[in-house]
Subunit: 492 residues, 2 copies
């Protein structure tokens, strides 16, 4: 599969690049200055009909209008998501969830990637959403750290198994769902994330509702209600990171969004301005609201074109450091015994999110920057095997990680790192990363995505089935029935 | 059924009466002063293991230890909840939800009050939870404006239909669920509610998880996880008030809490401190955290003993005014034409929540203090019939409501009102209410609860069935199988 060269930044307008300050966008020029010392300022003016503008766009947008580059990135999003969902399908997390929910499932309407069980579409959406995030290896919208596919693709593929839709309609719905969640995320990021919300679950539920509502053919008013019912069901807190609860969040966002759209499709009502009203979502859940991020440039700039895929099976904040470690190891043929210590300058978020110094399980290892660097230096990779129980308890890696010394440097941006391997022979090997592999600036190639997919599916599905599923993903836009992807990806 | 005289205030300890200021309770004396002007202060110290202390209490608490007054109030809570769930069972809101969810339901594990359909227990919990709040006529914990029964009773009764439990165990679980949600609500009220959350849905999900987890026999660690998964699924924004989305919230809190407990029962993990951790629920969702409200006096003071029931089918903030209007009408044999105008001094929340001046539907009438007072003066009641489409469009009531003049008075507490009917003959009839009928201080009698129940069930279930269901509710603690209440309350 050839890799088209796309300037994805060219698809952006100014609003998406300008992450403006706290909620001043929609306020009139004559607004009074912010009162000092208040826990939360009241909005100064009634914002435009944000929810309705968004709903109108979703209802009207057509596949034919999608730029080619957006279609391509949507296709890559599908492929990557199917791969990680298959990869997570036999993790203990999913075994537990499947056994817990089986007695309550409705008719066998939709399948699970990599498994034989079938569930009703809401439970299937939940379970595929959980599976796709278990390894923290799914796609990332870097501006918000939203993982877009989990909530959206899990919901629409389950729906598409029950109500067949064309691949073009499926891809259009996927893009619209990703637009919805990422634009809403932009409007409240970073304040909303900083305070403790897992933004993939809180914004993701809008994406799932928008995308499934699109496939259901909701009217504009029904879409307003679907978004309102989605606003009523945010999912996830950052405190849950490091437990099964983290992958719960995109899964529950998928099923909550689907639940919202199903109810709205029968005219279960909500209020009209649930995103922007005084006691609505954005004011309740965030101290920042930049509604222009939601309403401006609809149909001309695409957040969905900015989706990225992880070469490393962990949170995006650790990728620059792993990238630097792998580069230095491979270029210098490093062996652990030769390393005196590793000095690193990192963005504050790195230690806040991944500051565990003594991980005991593979899952905890994903929240340990010292483990990630140590294992990358020893094994030259950052895949799922490097975040296994085996890896975090390997004596060589354990010994090395104690010699990894991250320090916070306010001058370092989240996408950067300065890492120096100091050798016992006295040499220093510095490496500065501006953008890690897998970023918008240095995207994974189609071939690298295929390698990641086959690595994840190995041992779960036979090789020929894996190739068939990948082929269907690449051709998603041409399929008469998008549900074919789901059926092709289950375990016999 | 005789009405026992209970001093419910005597069940309270000091912590529940002292609604202390913003989150200072767990901070060490030597903590630095609050930084000025920050949107949200960081917690100064690690609080005690709030989630674990609560989980340990829930897991260990026995029916035998419940004071008699708490059992009695729990029984009244069940009776009132069953009545309002039957009453709402044929509203358009429930018709829509039932038809939307039917195609996705699992096995017919549990029934719906007042209806013939059966659903899996998660959908049944949702639907009974929605039904019980449709008329805004359910029980209220006045300190937090939480409606406790909807999330909790809907979840455990559905569960009890699938896994039979004794009435005593059911009542114990109900009380523990109500304790959990109301104590967590106390910890964050009023800030959490003020900013826009519908606290019944955000705190209620904990109650549903605690109560169903208790019936499932979760271990302490599993209960910690159930509370953590509940924390990840808050439901509801105040902006949705006046639409079907409002009754969605307690219903979804019920099914979300049940979902959390089911997963936790199979060892689906969460973090250990999801309520109190830095990036946990209370810090993320509120600017106030008073953890003593959760951890102090467990097993000695009972929020469940403070539950109240509405004599009027609308939000509690309007009750003092309706009470005053009904009293003045009945004492003075008022007729609409004799009334020049009605002057009222109300707490600010009254106009904030129920300030609609031109309601077009019965549902909107519940958010119109001017309608509520007008219809109470005309018809001498505030039941569901007074909040119908018919009532809000009655020309006599419409004309009178334009002459009802509420003004905000900061000296008036939420439970008070000063209402004066000015007659065309020049007379003024003032009435000050300190505590409305239905409050903790002036509770509805058992007989009044029965009248409310029979009014709600009229036309839905036959009279003899209504009497049988009420009898089962009064005897809930003696039943060998609590599910009998559910089976007795469905439509043949």
């Amino acid at each position: 599969m050839p890799v088209p060269t796309i300037d994805r930044r060219a698809l952006l307008g100014s609003a998406s690049l300008a992450l403006v300050g706290t909620g001043s966008a929609i306020q009139p020029a004559q607004a009074a200055p912010e009162p000092k010392g208040e826990a939360r300022a009241e909005p100064k003016a009634v914002p435009p009909e944000v929810t309705r503008i968004l709903a109108r766009y979703i209802v009207g947008a057509r596949y034919a209008d999608l730029p080619e580059a957006v279609r391509r990135e949507g296709t890559r999003t599908v492929l990557n998501w199917v791969g990680v969902a298959i990869g997570g399908s036999h993790h203990e997390t999913l075994d537990v969830a499947v056994s817990a929910l089986k007695p309550f499932s409705g008719p066998p309407q939709a399948g699970l990637f990599g498994r034989p069980e079938r569930f009703d579409i809401m439970n299937a959406a939940f379970l595929n959403g959980v599976a796709s995030h278990i390894f923290d290896y799914d796609d990332t919208h870097l501006k918000t750290v939203i993982h877009p596919a989990g909530p959206v693709a899990s919901a629409i593929l389950a729906y598409a198994e029950m109500h067949p839709v064309s691949g073009a309609d499926f891809l259009n719905a996927l893009v619209l769902g990703v637009e919805t969640e990422c634009r809403i995320g932009n409007a409240v990021y970073p304040n909303h994330y900083d305070v403790g919300w897992h933004i993939t679950g809180t914004a993701g539920v809008f994406g799932a509702a928008a995308a499934t509502g699109k496939l259901m053919g909701l009217s504009e008013q029904q879409m307003v209600w679907a978004l309102g019912l989605a606003a009523s069901q945010p999912v996830g807190l950052r405190e849950s990171f490091g437990s099964m609860n983290k992958s719960f969040n995109p899964g529950r966002a998928a099923s909550n969004g689907l639940f919202a759209a199903i109810l709205a499709s029968k005219n279960y009502t909500s209020s009209d301005g649930m995103i922007e009203a005084k006691r609505g979502w954005a004011n309740t859940i965030s101290t920042k609201q930049d509604y222009r991020e939601i309403t401006e440039g609809l149909g001309t700039r695409y957040e969905a074109a900015l989706n990225t895929y992880k070469p490393f099976a962990c949170g995006i904040v650790m990728h620059p450091a792993i990238d630097a470690a792998v580069q230095l190891r491979n270029e210098n043929h490093l062996v652990p015994d030769a390393i005196e210590r590793v000095d690193m300058k990192v963005h504050p978020l790195v230690l806040e999110l991944t500051g565990k110094t003594a991980p005991r399980t593979g899952l905890e290892g994903k929240f340990s920057i010292t483990h990630a660097v140590a294992v990358a230096l020893v094994e030259g990779a950052g895949g799922e095997r490097q975040f296994s129980d085996r890896a975090v308890n390997d004596p060589v890696i354990v010994a090395l990680r104690a010699r990894v010394k991250p320090v916070v440097d306010p001058a370092i941006r989240p996408e950067q790192v300065e890492l120096t391997v100091v050798l016992k022979d006295g040499r220093s090997l510095p490496r500065r990363i501006e953008h890690a592999i897998g970023s918008v600036e240095r995207p994974m190639s189609d071939a690298a995505l295929e390698t990641k997919f086959t690595d994840l599916a190995e041992g779960i599905l036979p090789d020929d089935q894996v190739r068939r599923v990948m082929g269907l993903c690449w051709r998603i836009a041409e399929l008469a029935d998008a549900g074919e992807v789901a059926r092709a990806g289950v375990q016999a």
